[in-house]
């Protein structure tokens, strides 16, 4: 009873751990185990037909690093992800800046744009498949109408064009997220600072680079990181639009792992690709945690 008065019974001390149990059970089984098991798998010759953990050492990795396909896929992942994120940043930032002014109906605009982000990926991928169709797709029609191209472009069937299409679809889908986050960040800038700069005679360009940009810098970095991670995980849109082709020109690491494991049925080899990806993401994760938790853990 005396524990009650100081507010610390044994039950109270155990409470934080007790509260964590449900999350730990679920997370432990389906998060940690697959990860550890995945790393183990990458050192085995596990296939669908021979489901055994027969140890082959680093053989999978040697095959991987000596094959040109792996490096092409790696490069694809970098190109597609980073160019899409750059586009998302530009479009998201400009839309957010536009909608941060006192426009009538900006709430409707914001919801309208954000709407794109919540539609199932498979739906948007299917729509783009129709829009990008080389014979009756609207993209070709509009470009011809404006006069930018003369003949129909085969968007999803040629290496370079397919890459461009994927980048465009990625950028289109990710922009709303950037817009909403940046808009929220812009609205936290105290108006007194803006007014003060106006009195001091700063022009709008100067104000943007000297005040607004530094203020929202953290959120921009966070958005970019989140978006890179999200695009790294994406399998859906590529599988629907190009299925990684033509040849390997739009295969990213995620798609490569998926196809190697579930179409090639070579689980061990697929896992080794996943592990190299894990290393890359680990570096990103360190960045991410530093951005998100600045100061948080020091309390």
């Amino acid at each position: 009873m005396s524990g009650r008065t100081t507010g610390m019974t044994i039950g109270d001390r155990a409470l934080p751990y007790l509260l964590l149990i449900p999350a730990l059970v679920v997370g432990g089984i389906v998060l940690v185990y697959p990860l550890v098991n995945g790393v183990l798998l990458s050192f085995t010759g596990y296939t669908f037909i021979q489901p055994q953990y027969n140890w082959v050492g680093v053989k999978n990795f040697v095959t991987l690093f000596t094959s040109p396909i792996y490096w092409e896929v790696f490069l694809n992942t970098i190109t597609l992800t980073f160019s899409a994120v750059a586009l998302q940043l530009c479009m998201g930032l400009s839309l957010a800046l536009l909608l941060n002014t006192e426009l009538p109906g900006r709430g409707a605009f914001r919801s309208g744009i954000f709407f794109i982000w919540i539609i199932p990926e498979i739906v948007t991928a299917m729509v783009w498949m129709i829009l990008l169709n080389s014979e009756f797709g609207m993209i070709n029609f509009i470009l011809k109408y404006i006069g930018l191209i003369r003949e129909n472009v085969i968007w999803l069937g040629r290496p370079v064009e397919a890459k461009l299409s994927i980048i465009m679809v990625y950028a289109w889908r990710g922009t709303p997220f950037f817009m909403v986050m940046i808009l929220a960040a812009l609205q936290t800038i105290p108006s007194t600072i803006i007014d003060a700069s106006r009195i001091d005679g700063a022009g709008s360009t100067q104000r943007f680079f000297k005040i607004v940009l530094p203020y929202i810098r953290d959120i921009l970095i966070l958005c970019c990181l989140l978006s890179v991670v999200r695009l790294f995980q994406d399998i859906t849109q590529i599988v629907i639009l190009t299925n990684g082709g033509p040849i390997y020109s739009t295969t990213t690491l995620a798609v490569h792992v998926y196809k190697e494991a579930f179409i090639g049925l070579q689980m061990g080899r697929a896992a080794s690709i996943g592990v190299t990806w894990l290393i890359f993401l680990f570096i990103l994760a360190i960045f991410y945690i530093r951005v998100v938790t600045k100061g948080e853990f020091r309390t």
Partner: protein
């Protein structure tokens, strides 16, 4: 004269009463450069939303007008066949039921586990807390494709393959970290004094959580719940790999199996089913978008 034309075009876009007043004030207060902004924004938004418009249009186009270029107006002969037989195709009904069950199950498990864990992270200091929080944060960066392989093998062993429980478990795992983070940032905003006064009045910890703190966290929990629901509803890759039969498949993989990769494409049916799977998330979003956007930005914006 030119001004009038522009004004007319803008007015016709905003039919509501509030919009009208806002527009009047807007024009009184500002000068031309603002309109230019407005027109640019309008053009950009229209450009962004064009694919959505096109999806709706294709779903209503009669087959004979599907491939005509330049596109003709379809208002006179709208084709409702895509929607008419939507649920008579038995498979889609299955997919729907599976998606609803899986998404609801995922929301319940996520919110239950997430709220408790978030409360623990937000209110207590203990050994291992920081490590666990870092793991939570970085969990969305784990290579999912790699983990699906192990999950698949695990599910074969434990007979969870082709079950809804298996899918719920998989979705929960990947949605849980962000759930915890969103709800935690709401707990952080609730002053501790509130709980302390409850203890003084003789409330136990658990009772305080349930009766006093939880009701205040409802917006955060709602935000997380919407996020989880949308995540689970939209998921494609887990549904594709962890189920093998139509009986247990959810909507997204079900649709791709039905429409992609066959020799002939049924564009109209494809788009009408796409719209039918979009509608539930849209309804959810329209009613709860305030919470959703707040929740999404809350975790990132707090200092």
């Amino acid at each position: 004269m030119n001004d009038q034309k522009k004004r007319l075009r803008i007015n016709s876009f905003q039919p509501q009463r509030r919009g009208w007043n806002a527009l009047k004030i807007f024009f009184r207060r500002h000068h031309l450069s603002r309109w230019v902004f407005f027109v640019i924004t309008l053009a950009l938004v229209a450009f962004m939303l064009f694919p959505i418009f096109w999806m709706v249009r294709i779903s209503l186009t009669p087959d004979s007008l599907l491939f005509t270029l330049p596109p003709k107006s379809i208002i006179k002969n709208i084709n409702l066949n895509g929607y008419h037989g939507l649920f008579s195709r038995i498979k889609i009904t299955y997919f729907y039921i599976n998606s609803i069950v899986v998404a609801t199950g995922t929301v319940i498990t996520c919110v239950f586990c997430g709220t408790l864990a978030a409360y623990s992270f937000s209110r207590f200091k203990y050994r291992g807390r920081n490590t666990l929080m870092v793991v939570t944060l970085s969990a969305q960066m784990f290579p999912w494709a790699l983990m699906i392989i192990s999950l698949y093998i695990l599910y074969i062993k434990t007979r969870l393959l082709d079950t809804r429980v298996g899918l719920i478990l998989a979705h929960t795992t990947f949605a849980l970290p962000l759930t915890i983070w969103i709800i935690k940032s709401y707990f952080d905003t609730i002053p501790r004094e509130l709980e302390e006064s409850a203890y003084i009045d003789g409330c136990s910890r658990m009772r305080t959580l349930l009766r006093i703190v939880l009701p205040l966290t409802i917006p955060g929990i709602l935000a997380a719940a919407i996020y989880v629901f949308i995540f689970s509803w939209n998921d494609f890759i887990f549904g594709l790999t962890l189920t093998t039969q139509n009986r247990t498949r959810t909507l997204a993989p079900g649709l791709s199996m039905t429409f992609i990769g066959e020799w002939e494409y049924h564009w109209v049916d494809m788009m009408s089913s796409s719209i039918s799977i979009t509608i539930p998330v849209v309804i959810l979003f329209l009613f709860l978008q305030r919470y959703f956007i707040e929740g999404l930005t809350a975790g990132a914006l707090k200092d």
